[in-house]
Amino acid sequence: MLTIENLSAEIDGKTILNGLTLSVGAGEVHAIMGPNGSGKSTLSYVLAGRAGYEVTGGSVTFMGKDLLAMAPHERAAAGVFLGLQYPVEIPGVSNLLFLRTALNAQRSSRGEAEATGAEFMKAAKVAAADMNLDFEMMKRSVNQGFSGGEKKRNEMIQMALLAPKLAILDETDSGLDIDALRVVSDGINRMRSPDRATLLITHYQRLLDHVQPDRVHVLMGGRIVRSGGPELALQLEAEGYAGIAAEAGLSNIMDAAA
């Protein structure tokens, strides 16, 4: 579903990704772990097409198409969803208007019929209830005044409604309380299906206790330096990144942060 080959990218002339290769098949859940500043969010932004994240080499193929040639909104319509590490507050635009506009924009760009008001409201209510978020909050401005955990749950509501093919969730588990972690994990598991894939960026094993990954990757020095099964996350939890950094020829963790 997603094939990243030898991807390099820079921000403001500073190289952050440096020959990253990663492949995620349909139906799979992959976790990406790595020290602070190693480029995990950068990878997610490059995949979503954020301006300023300049690709200097390599390729990304998504469902047979050149992802990097597409505009951000086209990537979304093609099925890419990015749950942001820091969701953006947008005063003056309600969550419902935002979501309905997004859903219908995606649908019309795919040549599908737009959702009626009633269909949309029904789906939005279900999605909010699934994330344990009071529906009244959906009438408020996007993320404005939301707590950290509420923002993350709001990202999940958006994901559930937009039903992407590939969900990239950048630390969606950070800032969640114990119950919310379970609710969010359930949401991710519900999305699992043979024709969907998920890329989980996380620092913690506790998310992976709820959402069993097929593969775990370690991102350091701008590339994937180690991949393994779920046991790799347990090993990292126990040992930290130092050993892997040394093996990868990165003299210390500070170098590992590109």
Partner: protein
């Protein structure tokens, strides 16, 4: 709702086409009409300024004790239109006015308000300036706090494209007797193009000592991160920009009901964004 009377006629008025306007101008103030309200009475204002000529009116409104004035003034002239409107409003003790100004049409549009607040009166004013090409649009207010405990809130938002100039000139005068005045002015402008200009000039003239007068002004561009967030959800760039521009004026139009004026304003914002 009938429009308030034109006080000094102009050449647009068929009946006055051949009159000596200069002479008339000198005597006309004697004929100034006022709309008066009884105490507790509710006045509504629904002015929609259209056409392609010059609209030049002085409108005097007097709201009685404890009364209210609610309404909208929408300047939506055609491309060559010129507007120089002055609304002179007096709020008696305990009266309140909730007004929304939309200044978006014509070549030159000036909406001026001269508002006097007596004891305990309240003014809540929202203003939206939306212009493109080479339009010049101004909201000019002179708020006079004459008695104690009066409150005035002015929230003006401008979205400007092309080489348009949008200005908010807000003068607040607090008389010696107007203790416990609470006056607030907020102006924010969003510039869509490099050639667009926003001017803000708050002016405070305070003669009482126990007052709260706050003012803030800012000028900015569309938030790139917000645009990315919208696009990452599948919303095309122009549509995302239109939504953000519409959201930007939101604070200024909270009193504007759903209806034609609101719809026209939002459509104008969308076309301003997509014209670029």
């Amino acid at each position: 709702m009938t429009a308030l009377p034109t006080l000094l006629p102009t050449r647009r008025d068929e009946a006055w086409r051949y009159a000596d306007l200069k002479t008339l101008g000198a005597i006309w103030p004697a004929r100034q009409q006022q709309v008066r309200s009884l105490a507790g009475a509710a006045l509504t204002l629904d002015d929609r300024i259209t056409g392609n000529g010059w609209t030049d009116e002085r409108i005097e409104i007097s709201v009685g004790e404890g009364g209210s004035l609610t309404g909208t003034i929408e300047q939506a002239m055609d491309a060559d239109g010129v507007t120089t409107q002055l609304y002179a409003i007096t709020l008696a003790a305990g009266a309140r006015a909730d007004l929304t100004l939309i200044n978006s049409g014509g070549r030159y549009g000036r909406l001026a308000l001269d508002i006097s607040l007596h004891e305990g009166a309240t003014l809540d004013l929202g203003g939206a300036i939306v212009g493109g090409s080479d339009q010049t649009l101004e909201i000019v207010t002179h708020v006079r706090h004459l008695g104690p405990n009066a409150t005035s809130r002015q929230t003006v938002r401008a979205v400007l494209g092309g080489t348009a100039v949008g200005s908010y000139l807000g003068q607040v005068a607090v008389a010696r007797a107007a203790q416990k005045t609470d006056a607030e002015q907020s102006f924010k402008a969003l510039l869509l193009d490099r050639g667009a200009t926003a001017n803000a000039k708050p002016e405070l003239e305070i003669f009482a000592d126990d007052v709260k007068c706050a003012h803030g002004a800012s000028v900015g561009e569309l938030d790139k991160l917000a645009l990315f967030y919208f696009e990452s959800r599948g919303i095309p760039p122009k549509q995302a920009e239109a939504l953000l521009a519409q959201a930007f004026v939101d604070d200024a139009i909270t009193r504007l009901p759903e209806g034609d004026a609101r719809a026209a304003l939002l459509a104008r914002l969308a076309s301003l964004v997509s014209a670029r």
